[in-house]
């Protein structure tokens, strides 16, 4: 069988599974999830064994320390997968909710009902825990899933997927609800994201190269979770202590994540006063500062910022600092250089707050709060599949509701169109 035929067959099986899943009750899905968690626990030794083989091959293949760390399935990570499944079981089921309803003058009763998307393809890199995290979130929203992980994690991913399927099967999980692409052939990704009519959505999770390849090859819709080039703008009206706290938290609390800030912009009227305080606070936290000319005129110890710095995602203790004329200039800068992820203003002035909230074209815009709150859990949505930097269907934290779509069910009494 050719790769193309193999992927078509996976697609067909997923469609069949999705149709069966769409009819599963919440209670049944939850009992399936609990059985999956139990099976992961029962298979703990087998998971670690499969992972040890992956780790050994990766070491021999010369993988770096950070990559090896991501690949490793420790007991703590298996615990986290199991806890994650139980957490998802506890979340409210979005499927079947009535989003809205209205009557037409001709008596038609139009109901907009939340339904599963269908078949979701997840393309990811080296972390094997994504296999469980993504699959169970999709399942709770009654979607079948086709997983394609990194080739270096294939054995670990197979062991996890097999445990999920085996556990679920005990409680009636439809066959082929969770399928893992077994070949490491790179063309499988292209085949997968071109399965129009079978795959309803592709979600790439990983570096920019992976996302770009998926976007360029896909015929099916893609939701991207691109980088986070996030900003704090400190207005002339800002409470200085609040601004310092927010900048420090957004930069330092966890610098390696997408909702950490990479830039601070300061209103020119307060720059001379605020920038030295900011430099002192962040230098104490070992942050490397890079500044525009205007910023360096005030704090000469900053390195000069290059043009590339303004759009760079460091994911590290580095921060680029600029000075702007006003809130409108800040918004224009953020719209131009940012990644439309999470941006904040610190300001007491209501006009500035409103201008920033209105003009900044980002998924999440904060007024007087840290950008670090962009997260499904922090938003109260529960687990998330990622933070969408796209504008269609899902923007910002993408959780259970965003893993559904809707259909219209229209109730009549024999109405025909005149």
């Amino acid at each position: 069988m050719s790769l193309h035929e193999e992927m078509l067959q996976m697609g067909d099986r997923a469609v069949t599974a999705a149709r069966a899943l769409a009819l599963c009750s919440t209670r049944k899905k939850n009992s399936i999830l609990e059985a999956m968690a139990d099976e992961l626990e029962a298979q703990r030794a087998a998971l670690k064994q499969a992972n040890a083989v992956d780790m050994e091959a990766a070491r021999q293949g010369g993988l770096s320390g950070a990559m090896l760390d991501r690949l490793q399935l420790t007991d703590a990570r298996i615990d986290a997968m199991i806890k994650g499944i139980n957490d998802v079981a506890a979340l409210k089921d979005p499927v079947g909710q009535r989003i809205s309803r209205w009557m037409r003058p001709n008596g038609l009763d139009i109901q907009k009902i939340r339904v599963p998307i269908g078949v979701i393809a997840i393309i990811y890199e080296s972390r094997p825990n994504v296999t469980a995290d993504a699959a169970v979130l999709c399942l709770k929203a009654s979607n079948a899933v086709i997983l394609r992980g990194g080739s270096e994690a294939l054995r670990s991913n197979q062991a996890i997927a097999a445990a999920l399927q085996a556990g679920g099967a005990k409680k009636g999980l439809p066959a082929h609800t969770i399928q893992l692409v077994a070949t490491t052939d790179r063309d499988a990704v292209r085949e997968l994201v071109q399965l129009e009519g079978r795959v309803d959505l592709a979600i790439p999770r990983g570096g920019e190269g992976l996302i770009r390849a998926v976007v360029e090859q896909a015929y099916v819709p893609v939701i991207k979770h691109y980088k986070g080039v996030c900003h704090v703008y400190v207005d002339a009206s800002a409470d200085g202590a609040m601004a310092l706290d927010i900048c420090e938290n957004a930069k330092c609390q966890r610098p390696g994540v997408c909702n950490a800030i990479e830039k601070v912009l300061v209103h020119e009227k307060i720059a001379a006063q605020f920038l030295p305080q900011l430099a002192a606070r962040l230098t104490a936290r070992k942050v490397e500062l890079r500044g525009s000319e205007a910023a360096r005129a005030i704090v000469p110890a900053m390195k000069p910022a290059t043009e590339e710095d303004w759009s760079a995602e460091y994911l590290d203790l580095i921060l680029t600092v600029g000075v702007v004329k006003d809130v409108h200039a800040a918004a224009a800068h953020i719209n131009h250089y940012g990644s439309h992820h999470s941006d904040a203003i610190v300001a007491a002035d209501e006009a500035a707050q409103k201008a920033f909230a209105g003009e900044v074209d980002s998924a999440t815009v904060y007024v007087n709060a840290s950008t670090r709150f962009t997260d499904g859990g922090e938003f109260g949505m529960g687990a998330e599949i990622g933070i969408s930097t796209d504008k269609l269907h899902a923007r910002g934290p993408m959780a259970l509701e965003e893993l559904t779509t809707y259909k219209y069910v229209i109730w009549g009494r024999g109405q025909v169109r005149k």
Copy 2:
């Protein structure tokens, strides 16, 4: 300037226009729309002159009668464009609506606000009226638009777009809000739908070839308005007179549109009684009937249906008729052969109604009503840009609300993440 650079420049201009538009009030947008309608009226002679040149070139190029008819701008069609603009001005502005709001335990006030999508590319074929219809609908939702029409309609489209821009400019329409691709180079479509970061959404309107080309080439999100292979399923519990009325209306009231039915499936228990009545009713309306073996055993006058017939969109007075075991078989048939557009059940039995509504995976599912109601106007949404057969972002009638997205605006008092 290369085509690539030219399209990049159009994209940049559209982004600038979209940022300005996002800040326009409803009142201002409506006065712009009224000025556009007035300008089309004022330019009526110029529009007809430009169209006459297109028509002459098309005749010389050997275009068929149906194509020529689509291309022609009659006074009635100009009237309809003008009325369409005034109708859109009267619609409620979706931009700025608060979709939902909730407070977090830490005091964060999360608001989900409806905002414009940004820049929308519309790729269409020969009808010049789409130039106005699509542009003003996008504009009302504060989106900039890049239009690429059929090459045979270029002069007509340019005249319409110029009138819209000139009329709008009198009331402060941002420059480049409505741009028309002036080259007839086919590569322009590819360049346009690969303008990631500039174009937020591409909507192809036209035949399957056009839609497929856009889907395969696009890097930006695409919402498809594919064909309508719509069904009526007549259950054993159906009121026979209602079923005949709905089948006749859905097939004959306007056979050339996407929400007209192409298939009827009948429960085997009532087939012997119902099919002869259906055949009599539709034959009187000059419908050509094609039947499965089981259907032809009852009404031998039907032509035999081929495998292709089950997924064909005739857009004509042709209907393929089948017999099914029950409602579940009907739903499975529709999910397999249909286009997930509009499908109806006629049934008195509540269990059958619910099974059909739950199992059929289509944008709009009707219980005891004609499929012909799938339409923005009939749904009470006003004008529509099309009927989405996609599942993400917009499904079914795609009107003003579906031409928007959302962002989260989060109001705090200095909250940082622990």
